[in-house]
């Protein structure tokens, strides 16, 4: 039933990998106790650099409602510059979680009734050996910290599967590092 569905809305920029990140999280959720998993990018065209949204719904039962998320439980922001362009917390449920990639810590967002989780994913991912600006795997670590519904190991496995032999290690490390360094409110 839809009431028990966890709704996660992702905000990123075209080309940043929000879809891949959501997909990896969704796949791990599916294999770890959530038969109902539905993920969709915002309906319409995607343009490189322009803000994009991804809806991810996770449930213990089959999901029938495929409409885009309007009241998210969790909002994931891949890049704090999006805060200027989009009202990322629009419709967020009271007490909902806001996960942001930012070097500014909690100072990045001032709003009531939202639990904030921040990490400097950009920096941590670089530290893990990824090219600057690759944040989609790192942010998974932050989300896993803020919303511990899927074991971290499962997520790291899913990242490995997604990227294959050559690029897996740095991406897994980015998620692990971020998971460790995410600051929770």
């Amino acid at each position: 039933m839809h009431d028990e569905t966890i709704q996660i809305r992702w905000h990123g920029r075209g080309g940043q990998g929000a879809i891949t990140a959501a997909k990896i999280f969704a796949q791990a959720a599916f294999t770890h106790g959530f038969p109902g998993v539905v993920m969709a990018p915002s309906f319409g065209t995607e343009r490189r650099g322009a803000p994009v949204e991804v809806s991810l719904k996770i449930s213990k039962t089959k999901i029938n409602d495929l409409c885009p998320i309007e009241s998210p439980d969790v909002v994931v922001v891949l890049d704090d510059s999006i805060l200027r362009d989009a009202d990322v917390t629009a419709g967020i449920k009271p007490g909902g979680i806001l996960v942001i990639n930012t070097p500014k810590g909690r100072a990045v967002y001032r709003g009531a009734n939202v639990k904030l989780a921040t990490a400097d994913v950009t920096h941590l991912a670089e530290q893990a050996g990824l090219r600057r600006g690759i944040v989609n795997t790192g942010i998974i670590g932050a989300l896993a910290r803020a919303l511990p519904i899927v074991p971290l190991a499962a997520l790291l496995d899913a990242i490995g599967t997604e990227f294959g032999a050559q690029r897996a290690a740095a991406n897994i490390e980015a998620a692990r590092l971020t998971h460790e360094h995410t600051e929770m409110e």
Partner: protein, 397 residues
């Protein structure tokens, strides 16, 4: 094996499993990821097929017409304007009795341009002589597309598998992919009675007289009208044949059940919501919610829209208090097409339900479950003396 992929990839997977040999396609949103995926399968050798990158949808179906007539299983997919650009080819395919399977990724039709979902494209081609199947999720996309090849080839009638643009095409969800061996056991290699070639010299689709005519052996051959009559008769058999095919699919692949219409909480329902495609799936949640409020609501998904399963629908809906039809397409100046068809089917029953028709989602206009709840409550609350009615959901006025 379960995979987590988009609806377009589910469709591509079905075509691969069905071992289509000729694929012709022209890009149009939101169909593109489907045919891109097929071109990838062909290029990387995981699928043994010819991929013809044509210069228009009209040509896409022309290539398939050529391929099917020359003895190879063919596939294309399109959306919206692409489907309408194919319009004459659609009729041609059906008239030629070619066992074509095509996915229609439903999208609104311009002008003005809209790349978003509604059902106007395929609904406007409901009279082209194709079987139309509307599916509600990725598993149904995959299963129906495989079954469609069997159906098309048994009946020599083309089949459109229609699924919602974005809601299904670009949405990811888990679905189970059958083993190739199971699909092979279910779907025999392609054969077509009229396959052209030096061994069977014939001229297909020649000008046909209004009346019949003697053939070269002095036997009476039918005219155009008999050929049309035959198409109509054969198409009506699709309901029974698809039900049988679904049973065989269940045996070999392990899934199936109700391929023509699907019901949810219908047994004791006083009010039944009817829809095509992914809306029907969403209505299950709506019915669950309204049941909690004490309203005896059920849902009926029309999976096979052409041929129209009038008898099955009449049996399912006669005697209900209300039937509420939700549609993403219009026959302008009339009502939703499904509504008119359903209303005509129910004309013959003694206890006719009162009917409501709600139009929503045109050009991708957003809707949510609460909109359906509200519409059903509104319909139920209407004085039955007022009779049938039509309304719009989400219209800004």
């Amino acid at each position: 094996m379960f995979v987590f992929e988009s609806g377009n990839v589910a469709a591509a997977g079905a075509v691969k499993l069905a071992r289509a040999k000729v694929i012709a396609a022209y890009p149009i949103t939101p169909q593109t990821p489907l045919t891109e995926k097929l071109s990838e399968y062909v290029d990387n050798g995981t699928m043994e097929a010819e991929y013809v990158a044509v210069e228009s949808e009209h040509s896409a179906l022309a290539v398939c017409i050529g391929a099917l007539s020359a003895g190879s299983r063919a596939f294309t997919a399109t959306s919206s304007h692409g489907l309408l650009y194919m319009a004459e080819q659609l009729h041609w395919t059906a008239g030629a009795r070619l066992p074509m399977v095509m996915c229609v990724v439903n999208r609104a039709v311009g002008a003005p341009f809209s790349i978003w979902n509604d059902h106007q494209d395929s609904i406007s081609q409901r009279d082209a002589g194709w079987i139309q199947i509307y599916v509600a999720d990725h598993q149904e996309i995959l299963d129906a597309t495989i079954k469609a090849f069997r159906l098309a080839e048994e009946l020599c009638i083309p089949v459109m598998v229609c699924y919602d643009g974005y809601y299904l095409s670009h949405t990811y969800m888990p679905y189970e992919v059958p083993e190739q061996s199971a699909v092979d056991a279910f779907l025999p290699p392609y054969s077509y009675r009229h396959t052209l070639g030096p061994d069977n010299p014939a001229s297909l689709n020649t000008v046909t007289l209004p009346g019949g005519r003697l053939d070269i052996h002095g036997e009476f051959a039918p005219g155009y009208m008999e050929l049309r009559h035959s198409l109509d008769l054969e198409m009506k058999r699709a309901i029974d044949i698809y039900t049988r095919i679904d049973g065989e699919f269940a045996k070999t692949v392990g899934r199936g059940g109700s391929p023509i219409v699907q019901t949810h909480l219908c047994d004791d329902a006083e009010y039944v919501a009817v829809a095509l495609g992914s809306m029907a799936s969403q209505l299950k949640d709506v019915a669950d919610t309204l049941r909690e409020e004490g309203l005896a609501v059920g849902v009926l998904a029309v999976s096979m829209y052409r041929p129209f399963p009038g008898e099955i629908l009449t049996a399912a809906l006669a005697g209900r208090k209300r039937v509420i039809v939700f549609e993403k397409a219009l026959s302008f100046g009339q009502s939703g097409a499904l509504y008119s068809d359903l209303r005509a089917a129910l004309y013959s029953c003694d206890t006719k339900p009162i009917m409501s028709n709600y139009i929503l989602g045109l050009g991708g206009r957003s809707y949510k479950s609460s909109d359906f709840c509200e519409a059903i409550r509104q319909s139920v609350a209407r004085d039955s003396a007022c009779g049938d009615h039509m309304g719009w959901i989400g219209l800004n006025r």
